[in-house]
Amino acid sequence: MSDPRDYRFRVWRGDSAGGDFAEYTVSASPQMVVLDCLHEIQRRQANDLAIRWNCKAGKCGSCSVEINGKPRLACMTRMNALPDGNDITVQPLKTFPVVKDLVTDVSWNYRQNKRITPLQPKPREADGTYRMMQEDVDRIQEFRKCIECFLCQDVCHVLRDQDRQDAFVGPRFMIRLAGLEMHPLDTADRIPAIRAEFGSGLCNITRCCTEVCPEHINITDNAIIPLKERVVDRYYDPVTRLLRVFSGAGK
């Protein structure tokens, strides 16, 4: 393993009233991760530095920050994966209000989840089991890998730049909705809500969310676009629309 060397960090310190970058020098080996260095700063130089973290293994999605301007998990960003020789800048997620230092208030996300109709399963089979084939659950198992790090929410233009939290639930909850809509056992219909309340039309498919996903979930192609298609099929397909006019159904 290579010898430890000094890294210069610029870490945003402050709270909702404002703040600025503070500089720290940390001795670390290149195989270490950014979270190790932040912990070192916390232990030796700034005991009160606020960082949110839990598993330190990329499984819980707590330590989301922006490293050199990119949304990333601090626990999965190795020092030797960052450009050499430059200062390393660490700042809180921009899309959510700062609590303190690198910790943001992500409670808005938890409120969105509450709005989503949960699974409404069909009855069990006569022998008390549910039968689902692996190939029928592969695609929703991909969505269920989500660790709720909210990096996709942070990078989403609709939420980050346009501040449309009132109109769009964001990529994280589009995959939650897709996971329910495509669940073989589910009987609920969320398509009207996906269109009207959750704002599927606002996503303009820039795929930024997919790029930052640490679980490599193909958010845009496998979840958002299929949901958009289901909305289009329901509301804009001429044949379906005509049928709906005659049957008097829908909005």
Binding site: Q31, D36, N47, G58, S62, D105, Y110, K114, R124, Y130
Partner: protein, 608 residues
Amino acid sequence: MNVKDIQTIQHDVLVIGAGGAGLRAAIECATRGLDTGVVTKSLLGKAHTVMAEGGMAAALGYADARDNWKFHFRDSMRGGKFKNQWRMAELHAQQAPDRVKELEEWGAVFDRTKEGLIAQRNFGGHRFPRLAHVGDRTGLELIRTLQDKAVHSGVAVHAECTALDLLKDGDRIAGLVAYWKDTGRFVILRAKAVILCTGGGGKAWQVTSNSWEYTGDGYAMAYEAGAELLDMEFAQFHPTGMVWPPSVRGILVTEGVRGDGGILLNSKRERFMFRYTPEKFAKETADTEGEANRWLAGDKQARRPPELLTRDVVARAIAAEIKEGRGSPHGGVYLDIASRVDAEKIRKKLPSMYHQFMELAELDITKEPMEVAPTLHYFMGGVRVDHDTQMSNVPGLFAAGEAAGGFNGANRLGGNSLSDLLVFGRLAGIGAADYARGTQEPALDEAQVQRIVERARTPLMRESGENPFVLHEELQAVMQRNVGIVRQREEMEQALREIDRLRERAATAKAHATSQYNAGWHEALDLRSLLLTSEAVTRAALMREESRGGHARLDFEGERDEWLKKDIVIRKARDGSMGLSAVERPAPPPELAKIANASIEDLEAGRV
């Protein structure tokens, strides 16, 4: 500070901890119509359960129709070296299948068999493939499913809210005092019943698979409130933690690697586990590589490979190989699945292991063996509870999951933890709901609140003092050195002296700046729980003069019958010191003893 100025929240039942046990308990209380709250140190969905990998053990009988609760019960008892509380092991084995099926109804999507049923994988100590799983991210599936179920069941979640101490009205529980991390402000949570689902205390060691949350809060709060702790000497070292690079040392490598065919090799490339099969397991374990390979290929007559012996056995074997100079370059042994299973299957069944090694160690597990060594993983001991209701000796105080003791005995089988969370989380919920319905609103004692708040504020008020992070590191070094995988008297006595000294220094710990989201303050407050947990483990380990399961003594080798008959129970003495007693265990129920001691042949033939 005037107590009247402190925010007060009221619930019927309050759950501390939002891991699998806490959420399952809260769902049970809420669906029974009780006003239920959960406090959690972290955000919802981030609790340690999320890191569970391999699966949850339940005798569903889908993967092998011969399986039933009796085999599962027998496996848990043998794995726990018969130190398990019999009734708890019975309840667990009988109820686990229903808990797994219920999760599926709530939206969990397990891997499937060819017939479309829940797939089950092999794990150490389990006679049949028994673990319902989702690749190697089963904990995530479990916690997300419970999280969604809880918020839609009306459970109030108080996130990033850390419990400080319990409140009592006379002998019974009255709630607790906590602080909000985001503001640093205190909050009184009043409740008729409190359920501790606070997990374990692995953060007292250096090399551990546990996250920062595992500071033994539940043990400390329960102990201070007068509850008894049981089996604290039994701490589990998981055989396979990462060893390289240093910053990931201790991170878990799932037993699923061995369950799916991985083998352990020393530096001479010997498959050394064949030399470590205990006599009691010899009849049911393969003794040649040929037989072990036939088992992997699906031969139902072949016996299981020795890599799938229980965790205590495998961890000690690895430690012995390393100690005797046959370790890998970074002080581990090799765990090889690359040469056993094709790359595509590895990536499908062990995606997060693949990802973890690729990203953190720059190693491709489909091409090269991993380096692994034991890592402190789990506490078998915990709050002593009634086996059916999960209530402690303090009226209104319940415990479930890793915070409770008894079910796992001297050693837990892999996969039994996730089903433990669900089975006993639910039972604790029922117990607490029944208790809360039958009790009057407890009174609030303002003097207790005052004392708790004053204690918590002290580190912030000091002019100068010790760095709490440094004290924590020193404690970890003490426990790692002296109360490790193999123990002896002198080292443990040394640990107790050092814990005493650290406690004196912890009383002078200083937290800089304000109480708002202040890691140094949180660390200073956690020291009490860490020190108390360390002392409890060490004192109990010193008292138990035998080697059994997760507790191994160099100076008292082998299991001793006289110690099988005793539970070590810890309780705060009147003079404030830690009181230990060796309590005689009642004789096992004859029906259960018959199942646990039955031969496989008799069980398979339905003769027991």
